[in-house]
């Protein structure tokens, strides 16, 4: 029995289509994971280039390089690309690569759907990016596409934006369904839910969030589409609709969405910290419950994005307290990571450096989030650079740093080679310093009253903006080192054993490095 399976595996390996068709037709979870990760790296640089344009324009006060309308398109598309094109596909790619390896499954449960959910993504972003070059330009209403900006006042290419978001949504929903079915049906015998690695747990919860809220986003953009082109009045007071309702529906999606972008990061950090502290993760059960309660709470806090829309006092208090409540399970996580490191034999390999930076900097983002949760204070902070600083701390030094940490952590497993450690450390230190030069001063200009989404600003913000822009250019350039590290590692380097890191635990370290094309055709035995 085992032999025959082995033979089938080997023969199918020999009959692999080569060249481009290998990637187009592939149903292999490792290939698709690689595609997702490669695509998100490409999108990181596309979105990053837009950030560079934004920072170049803001380098000096006054309008220097681009028209305000194009500036608005840049902030909008930068946000959309980074959220839906860089962070989310990167996590789906990591899920594709690692979840089957971590739970001892031969592949994802629905491999054909897996292929489809990846290959529709490039079309979504091609549509979105193409609209930038059309007459009228791309979307310019902010990634949150508030009505009536996206309905009454938007340009004729809004339909392209809507369709591209539809496709991204379908892709995410299919990816999430695949993750859930894989985790529920394909775990190796003996791997109970409470024995699953944290990364698998956080992804399971993320997948449920995805299928709960991505359809709501699809519904929202559909309403924008019909309001704009077919004369409905969901968000138009003239026909009995309500523009404030847009914000309620959008943020009902939008708040769980931000946890979709951070829960897998928690899973990654919970994998890396124990490995290099050479201790078991402190409080595994509390981690699982904390993740679940964050996911639950994310559904009842959405209106904290809308304190200034004129809510009654009772609602403001409710959303303020429920938001602050989230810091409890998040605090549990941070303390558990710190407790895991406590008295561990810590070594500072590159993934660990990024993980520690994540804990510190994500916590800063969490604290500024708490400040924003205070309703009376939020009236001052709303729509300023303080908000920009907050969500870039949680998304760049949070989500993105965790993705980079994960790539450095598992790259030797994927390629069979160790990356250039010296170069990777330079990448880390350059990123760490430049990212703080980039985002930390934003807190201060925000508190001093500089509004977000503007191409020009008052003169007193000039010096800080120049510093911010310099940090931005440095951070953008530093990421080229990351690409070089990854490319070099694929090409060659020191051979690594199956268990790349001596403190690592988990099934993925029991298969050879590089991971064979087919793994766990027979389920492993779980002790």
């Amino acid at each position: 029995m085992n032999d025959s399976i082995q033979q089938i595996d080997e023969s199918s390996e020999h009959h692999q289509p080569s060249g481009i068709t290998r990637w187009l037709y592939t149903t292999n979870h490792k290939d698709i994971g690689t595609l997702y990760l490669g695509f998100s790296l490409l999108m990181l640089f596309v979105g990053g280039a837009m950030a560079m344009i934004i920072r170049a324009e803001l380098f000096q006060p006054g309008l220097q390089l681009i028209e305000p309308n194009f500036f608005n398109q840049m902030t909008t598309v930068h946000g959309l690309i980074m959220v839906f094109g860089a962070v989310m596909p990167a996590f789906v790619g990591l899920a594709n690569w690692m979840i089957p390896l971590m739970i001892g499954a031969p592949d994802m449960a629905l491999p054909r759907m897996n292929n489809w959910s990846f290959w529709i993504l490039p079309f979504a972003f091609a549509i979105l990016l193409a609209s930038l070059f059309m007459e009228g330009g791309g979307p310019n209403f902010g990634w949150t596409f508030y009505a009536p900006l996206s309905t009454t006042y938007s340009n004729d290419n809004t339909a392209l934006f809507v369709f591209s978001v539809h496709i991204m949504g379908i892709s995410s929903i299919m990816g999430a369904i695949n993750v859930i079915v894989t985790i529920f049906n394909l775990r190796a015998p003996g791997m109970t839910l409470m024995k699953m690695p944290m990364f698998v747990w956080t992804w399971l919860i993320t997948a449920f969030l995805l299928i709960a809220v991505m359809p709501v986003l699809a519904g929202t953009v559909t309403m924008v589409l019909t309001d704009k082109y077919f004369g409905t009045s969901f968000f138009n007071a003239m026909g009995g609709g309500d523009p404030v309702m847009f914000q309620h529906i959008f943020w009902f999606f939008g708040h769980p969405e931000v946890y979709i972008m951070i829960l897998p990061a928690f899973g990654i950090i919970s994998t890396i910290i124990p490995t290099f502290s050479r201790k078991k993760l402190f409080g595994y059960h509390s981690m699982v419950y904390a993740t679940s309660s964050i996911a639950f709470l994310s559904f009842i806090v959405w209106a904290h994005h809308m304190f200034t829309t004129g809510m009654p006092l009772a609602a403001e208090l409710f959303f303020m307290y429920s938001t602050m409540l989230i810091s409890v399970p998040t605090g549990v996580k941070v303390f558990n990571w710190v407790a895991t490191m406590w008295r561990g034999s810590i070594s500072f390999e590159v993934p660990m450096l990024f993980a520690i930076a994540f804990i510190v900097l994500f916590t800063i983002g969490g604290f500024s989030g708490l400040m924003l949760a205070i309703t009376p204070a939020d009236f001052q902070y709303h729509d300023t650079y303080f908000v920009v600083a907050h969500f870039h701390y949680v998304l760049v030094t949070g989500a993105l740093f965790s993705i980079i940490a994960a790539v450095y952590f598992w790259l030797p497993k994927w390629t069979g080679h160790m990356f250039n450690i010296k170069l990777a450390k330079i990448h880390f230190w350059l990123s760490l310093i430049s990212v703080n030069v980039l985002f930390f001063p934003m807190h201060f200009v925000g508190l001093a009253g500089m509004p977000r989404r503007i191409p020009d600003y008052a003169l007193q913000f000039a010096d800080f903006n120049m510093i911010i822009s310099l940090g931005g250019f440095a951070f953008g350039l530093s990421q080229l080192l990351f690409v070089w590290c990854v490319v070099q590692c694929f090409r060659g380097g020191d051979k690594v054993p199956a268990k790349v890191w001596d403190g690592a635990e988990g099934l993925e370290w029991e298969v050879a490095s590089p991971a064979p094309y087919h793994t766990f055709s027979t389920p492993p035995v779980i002790k």
Binding site: L110, I173, V181, F184, V216, A218, M223, A237, M238, D242
Partner: protein, 172 residues
Amino acid sequence: MSQHRPLLKRLLIISSLMFGFAFALVPLYDVFCQVTGLNGKPSMQQAKTSESINIMQQVDVDFITHAQAGAPFKVIAKNQRMTVNTGEMNKVTFKASNLSDKDLVMQAVPSVSPGLSAQYLHKVECFCFQQQPIKAGESVDMTLLFYVDEELPTEIEEMTLSYALFDISDKL
């Protein structure tokens, strides 16, 4: 594959339901706002007339209007501010002018501030209940008949009734 089908089916059903839920939020939102009166949307239903007057409680009511998206209308209340007793029936006349050289149809959408007072403002008759055709360059008088509920919390001493004016000629 067959072992995955039941779970796959369930997850697809959840996704479709959530897509429907986004649209269900629209009526839910309206119902929620009507029940709680949170967003200052007064009822668009004709109210019964009031039967008693509370001479002890007074409230100032302001009337403002603003034309939306360049709609060529001007609407002014003859009395822009009234002090009324709760329960007392009041009549306000608005003068509406069509500033353009075309025959247009106007729709007024009311809103009350502070939002929580919206549920205490009862309109027995309002020009906002119907679409108002106004000939080019002409002016018409429009009537609002209303009273403020005696249940109005005493801390509310002032309220503003605001009308957003829309040109809906193209939509007809």
